[in-house]
């Protein structure tokens, strides 16, 4: 029964922790709440273990597991994909303007998350500054449009090219870095890009951002309603999914997988690490550029504030939450992390707090993500606990 003896202690402990910040009344509630949660969990666990609820709990768990693996399996099935697509095409007609707008943002994030998934999920390179490429895409359209009047469609190509180029530029110096060190350099790179955008007033208008970015045209039709953007983004998402899916199965995809599992071994079996790494950065960045161009066309206004480190974190969370290297998983992750906060708008104040807590909980309970990648576990290998810091080896 020591599990129950812990309950009041845990409650007291959290009340103690909350005391100087939340005041005594709130602390009391916090302590009680924590104790209650722990109590429920321990009762549930004990009753499952002692056999009381073992059978129903086992059934529920087994049922859930079966259902979930059914969903997991079907989420890779092409026939379901086309059905799903039909549903998605029909969706905005049942929705209002605001919800459609949320879905447009979701679509942009799906592109971004799939792009980051190429870098992190497929190639195993942890990138914490991914938003920089997004910014490059967004600004290349915004600047070319406001200076030279370049229209949306060619800008889409230019933006992608610019971002990919930046991907390579970042890739070259970090070729020999691994693991955490790579993550930090990319983080630094992301911040540098944002700060340059914020400070290079003559070119980027600094913090004022760029106003009045042109809307795209489809023939003579000006695209400006959320509905228009919905279909634009949907089309781009379909292209993204198609290409990313093909990439995963291609020779290059296999090279990425090999590099992810063990760089040294991959090199030994003839994978050109330089090319493979750079292509991962370039491909990942390209999709960010894609998303960036669409974003600036949709917003008609961009400023460096939209490209903070927090944004990189959110995109990374989408990838990890959904299931690294799993395309449907990443899409699900992007969907959840854009739609859920909107649905919880009433809880504005608590939203980021809940998001943070959910991230921790997710990692503790289901670190492989919601939808596990097909063909086994994909993850960044953890070094042996005694391993060296991971750089320069």
């Amino acid at each position: 029964m020591s599990a129950y003896a812990r309950v009041p202690l845990i409650g007291l402990w959290f009340a103690f922790l909350a005391l100087p910040l939340a005041g005594w009344r709130n602390s009391l509630w916090i302590g009680l709440g924590c104790a209650l949660v722990v109590l429920i969990v321990s009762v549930a666990r004990a009753s499952v273990q002692s056999g009381y609820l073992a059978w129903p709990a086992g059934r529920v768990k087994a049922g859930f597991t079966t259902a979930w693996s059914f969903i997991e399996e079907k989420s890779y099935d092409k026939r379901y994909w086309s059905l799903f697509l039909l549903l998605v095409i029909a969706l905005p007609w049942t929705l209002d303007r605001y919800s459609t707008d949320v879905l447009v943002i979701t679509g942009i994030y799906i592109m971004l998350a799939l792009g980051l998934n190429v870098v992190v999920g497929f190639a195993g390179l942890l990138d914490l500054g991914y938003v920089a490429f997004y910014a490059v895409g967004a600004y290349s359209y915004a600047l070319l449009n406001s200076w030279y009047g370049l229209s949306f469609w060619p800008a889409l190509g230019v933006g992608v090219a610019c971002s990919a180029l930046f991907g390579v530029i970042l890739g070259i110096p970090v070729l020999r870095l691994r693991g955490d060190y790579l993550a930090i350099v990319t983080l630094g790179f992301g911040e540098i890009i944002r700060l340059v955008l914020n400070n290079w007033d003559n070119v980027t208008q600094g913090p004022n951002g760029i106003l009045g970015i042109g809307r795209p045209y489809l023939g003579d039709m000006r695209l400006y309603k959320p509905m228009h953007f919905y279909y634009l983004v949907l089309a781009l998402c379909v292209i993204t999914i198609f290409i990313v899916n093909r990439l995963d199965k291609s020779r290059l995809g296999r090279a990425w997988a090999a590099m992810r599992e063990d760089e040294t071994v991959a090199e030994c079996v003839g994978v050109n690490i330089v090319y493979t790494k750079l292509s991962a950065f370039a491909f990942g960045a390209a999709w960010a550029g894609f998303g960036g161009v669409v974003f600036s066309a949709k917003q008609t206004f961009i400023s460096p504030e939209s490209f903070t480190f927090f944004e990189s974190v959110i995109i990374l969370c989408m990838v990890v939450l959904g299931g690294m290297a799993s395309i449907p998983g990443v899409m699900l992750g992007a969907f959840i992390l854009t739609v859920l906060p909107e649905a919880l708008r009433e809880l504005t104040l608590f939203r980021p707090m809940l998001l943070g807590g959910a991230m921790v909980l997710m990692m503790v309970l289901r670190p492989q993500g919601l939808l596990q990648a097909k063909g086994g576990r994909h993850h960044l290998e953890r070094d042996e606990p005694q391993g060296e810091a991971g750089a320069g080896r």
């Binding site: 049942t94 004022n208 106003l211």
Partner: protein
């Protein structure tokens, strides 16, 4: 199985989105600003002002539109001074059928959101966004009841040249749309009057230590340090000038630092700070009524933007009642059509949607409070 799965999926997706459906016979007005986050202090001013106005109208039975009394319902939008949140909220407001918007607070949010309101034909009155660009976009439905940074910069520059008669000016700004805009306008007008600033630099918002840049400024022996930005940075700057570097130069800033925190936290260092701001509302005869009501309703004094928010809300509701319409174009035409008698005194809009008279005067921190000095 397949069918089942999809029906479940459809229902789920639909359920998520069709949250808000029921429409009553109420008049919806959107109020948006940084209600939470580090600028929540300003958001609260907007909130209280708008609430006060709406409660007055509702106490009288509501706004009469086409002979029918309609209660007013405020839609709250928390943009957390994030432009993208602002656009998202704009869509939400438009979608919920908001008949008018009071907001947003920050220029960097008001500007992108204004595109959405304008495209949807919804009238928007900002109580606080002072960046000139907002009304320079050419949208007919955008108004502001506050002043513009260029007006403020001009007042500051003239005061420095004419009254203080200072020549060596250092200019700092916080690299935000508001701060840099204000600093640049002040610089422009100073140069117009033949005073070329001896030092000009941005500082990083959110940073804590400004001694390096202040040390560099000190090298130039400025007689006055002008800062474009908001209060947290202003507090740190003025404290570090006085306490760390022993600088005696005057300190001057704009309306962004007008919060109680400024003199409370900066203490002695804040004494003597010059501020360009709108005339003292507490001395305005027209404002007395609101101030009293506010004290009664919220148990505290009005903030710098509370009455602006109150006035903006009243203007929208008055126009709706007068025109009997919620169409943005009609409301805009009505708003432009006359001189308004408001709690801020007489106000009239020009073609762009700005108020005609520059409303700025000089204030100073004296004995731990803001005092109007001209």
């Amino acid at each position: 199985m397949r069918k089942k799965l999809f029906s479940v999926l459809t229902v789920l997706t639909a359920a998520v989105f069709l949250g808000s459906a029921a429409h009553g016979a109420t008049l919806k007005i959107g109020v948006a600003g940084p209600l939470t986050g580090d600028q929540a202090a300003f958001g609260e001013m907007l909130k209280n002002g708008a609430t006060l106005a709406v409660e007055e109208w509702n106490a009288k039975g509501g706004v009469s539109v086409g002979g029918k009394k309609m209660k007013v319902d405020i839609l709250w939008g928390d943009d957390r001074h994030d432009p993208r949140e602002g656009v998202s909220i704009a869509h939400k407001f438009v979608n919920s059928g908001a008949a008018g918007i009071v907001g947003h607070f920050n220029s960097s949010v008001s500007i992108p959101a204004s595109t959405v309101y304008a495209e949807a034909g919804v009238v928007q009155i900002t109580p606080a966004s002072t960046n000139p660009k907002l009304t320079e976009q050419g949208f007919s439905t955008v108004f502001r009841v506050c002043g513009r940074d260029d007006q403020q910069g001009e007042v500051a520059a003239n005061y420095i040249v004419d009254k203080l008669k200072l020549k060596r000016i250092a200019i700092l700004h916080d690299k935000t749309t508001y701060g840099q805009g204000l600093a640049d306008e002040t610089k422009r007008f100073l140069e117009k009057r033949g005073v070329k600033p001896v030092f000009y630099s941005g500082v990083v918002q959110g940073d804590k230590d400004y001694t390096p840049v202040l040390t560099a400024a000190k090298q130039k022996n400025p007689e006055l340090v002008y800062f474009g930005g908001i209060h947290p940075e202003a507090i740190l700057l003025v404290k570090q000038m006085r306490e760390r570097l022993g600088m005696k130069a005057h300190f001057m800033s704009g309306d962004g630092i007008v919060t109680d925190e400024y003199y409370k936290i900066a203490g002695k260092s804040a004494e003597g700070t010059y501020i360009t701001f709108t005339p003292d509302q507490t001395k305005l005869a027209a404002a007395q009524n609101v101030i009293k009501k506010h004290r009664k309703r919220f148990g505290k004094e009005v903030g710098a933007y509370t009455i602006y928010s109150y006035v903006a809300m009243n203007m929208i509701l008055n126009s709706i009642q007068a025109t009997g319409s919620t169409k943005g174009e009609k409301l805009a035409a009505h708003l432009r059509s006359k001189a308004w008698n408001t709690s801020l005194g007489k106000l009239q809009f020009n073609k762009k949607g700005d108020v005609l008279e520059s409303p700025y005067v000089l204030w100073q921190v004296k004995g731990s409070k803001f005092v109007q000095i001209n």
